[in-house]
Amino acid sequence: MYKYDIYDQRIVDERVAQFRDQTRRFLAGELSEEEFRPLRLQNGLYIQKHAPMLRVAIPYGLLSTRQLRKLAGIARDYDHGYGHFTTRQNIQFNWPALERVPDILAELATVEMHAIQTSGNCIRNVTSDQFAGVAHDELVDPRPYAEIIRQWSTFHPEFAYLPRKFKIAVSGSVEDRAGTLFHDIGVQVARNDSGEVGFKVLVGGGLGRTPILGHVIREWLPREHVLTYFDAILRVYNRHGRRDNMYKARIKILVKERGLDAFKREVDAEWAFLKDGPGTLTQAEIDRVAAHFVDPDYADLPDVEVDFERARRDNKAFARWVSRNVFGHKRAGYAAVTLSLKKTGVPPGDATTGQLEAVADLADRYSFGEVRVSHEQNLILADVRQSDLFAVWEAAKAIGFATPNIGLLTDIIACPGGDFCSLANAKSIPIANAIQARVREKLGDLDYLFDIGDIELNISGCMNACGHHHVGHIGILGVDKHGSEFYQVSIGGSQGEAASLGKVIGPSFAQDDMADVIEKLIGTYVDLRHEDERFIDTVRRTGIEPFKARVYTGLTRETADV
């Protein structure tokens, strides 16, 4: 993975000094709350319900075990012994003391980490595919470009006070696991017929209050032009994006109001001045960054490991885990393992100091000392030998990270919600827990869950859509009606290449009805499905009506039109 040089290190060190002074001035009353607010947000610091919340960047989801141990230590020394992985490859600490945040940033800087631009109206932490570099369906490794974009966006002087936040995702594989269709800019790295690397550029996607899928603004952008082209898009947005209404300030609204063609003409007119200028990437810089993302020292292994196959045949629980939590690797004899942070009864994405340290030990022993974070809020060991999978499974079970539910109903994506977040209308975590508990009641064992098969259930506690509810096969949105918490349900959303936005099925439900609602949705699917049809495919075939008809029958609690 990328290693800082003296320039990278100096930039994060100088940031720590700058923020230490800003915090001192705020505490001394020299900076008002309003003046301090954007400064702390651009360092990932929120003032939340109980305490400040610090959001630390994990650029494009990559962590060394040294970094992971540092995060574990920060959770222990500055927090209540745990951290929360978010839906954008960040980790959040919910209980740090404001005056100690500069010390946390200083600790992060010692392991080449930071909280730069993890919030605020600026270019946010760049995200990518958690399987980048190892995926069997990869076209081009997106990580060098994600790092190049990270550096370009860090303290970009012109784009630190944009109309609204700005999120960039980079994907480089056949299946889009980075959600490029719902980012302000999404890029898909590929190779053309001549073998040159370039990008398909999408613009104006996003969730939030007005969910819109991104539009292709350029089918093919040769890679050396990526930064000048981004400068052009950002300049048009910075100058013309709406600043009168924060709900209409994202670039998606600008693109919608002007029309894609007009917006593209403006970007092209701006780009004409920048193209081939000093911002153009050099071969030397691409090579320098790419050299950090070479393959680890893989052994030459057979395609099939006999012991692994035997264990899978003899041990049903292991086989189940393999079928859900192990992902195909480009290299023979290796596999990528997803450690599930979605155990029933635990807030999705939470991990304790002890668990983080145990994962670091596992990665050191079995996966070249590297860990990835997915936007589905799980952790990944990307380079495990098939012959080690059984041992990894046993070790993961011991720390509660071996739930065989990746891509299943209980692998719920959820924001922190009203228990922690001051923006939220409603709680998220208790809903996730109620659904997981219902699944457990229903089953006794895992057959029910496996029978339901691939399904994505996403929960957001408010319109800001941190839980990506619009693109969940089932999406749940917390809403407020006269001071009470209700939940609006949509179905038919999906991420990836065939991304779609879910449709709301009707009035919102009371919290205590939510487990029933989900059970009825699943029941409808089980009754209607064709053989081998996933939940999302059934919804696409039948529409929402049959689901709606079943769900609203026999409710005892009131619903709310919101």
């Binding site: 290190q9 700058q18 109206n121 002087p157 630190a160 910075n238 001045f273 000093p278």
Partner: protein
């Protein structure tokens, strides 16, 4: 009225200019004036004549949403352009400054006015400002120190067009 100080080219100096409000009516004050863009466009010939008569330089100020391209014909005769920040978090002025310097080649004094605070001056300087009228209730000297918050930025802008990868040998690690 006490003398007001600004930062110009990295030093604290007395401000010699008078800023004319957007709604200014009636006779013009004496001395060097920074007039609103709308007035400049409406009374341009009169202003140019007055400047010649008194041998005074001229300045114009813009709001964040005003297009700097409206000044392209006048850039050579303007000694100063000021860009107004209604709120420090309104970042349009950074792009206006970039365009004036890089696209239109303005060489005179480029001044940030309005809600201008120390924690933004590093970015403002990079985007092309060389003059800062720090908000009156804040110490000017404080802001001077913030011009050096970072030593080597990654990306190119007005103050240094070359990105770090074009101006430094990258890859050296700390021993």
């Amino acid at each position: 009225m006490s003398e007001r100080h600004i930062i110009l080219d990295g030093a604290i100096v007395a401000d010699e200019w008078t800023l004319l409000a957007a709604d200014h009516q009636g006779a013009l004050p004496a001395g060097k004036l920074i007039v609103p863009l709308a007035q400049w466009l409406a009374r341009r010939d009169e202003f140019i004549e007055r400047a010649a008569l008194h041998d005074l330089p001229w300045g114009v100020w813009l709001e964040g949403d005003e297009d700097p391209a409206q000044l392209t014909g006048d850039l050579a005769r303007l000694a100063l352009i000021a860009i107004h920040f209604p709120k420090f978090a309104d970042g349009r002025g950074y792009s206006t400054a970039y365009l004036l310097r890089s696209r239109h080649g303005f060489k005179g004094e480029l001044r940030a006015i309005g809600d201008v605070l120390r924690d933004q001056v590093f970015y403002l300087k990079r985007a092309g400002f060389n003059s800062f009228a720090i908000r009156a209730d804040k110490p000017v000297k404080d802001a001077l120190n913030a011009l050096k918050d970072f030593s080597e930025p990654y990306q190119g802008s007005v103050d240094e067009a070359r990105p770090l990868f074009r101006r430094a040998r990258r890859g050296e690690v700390v021993a």
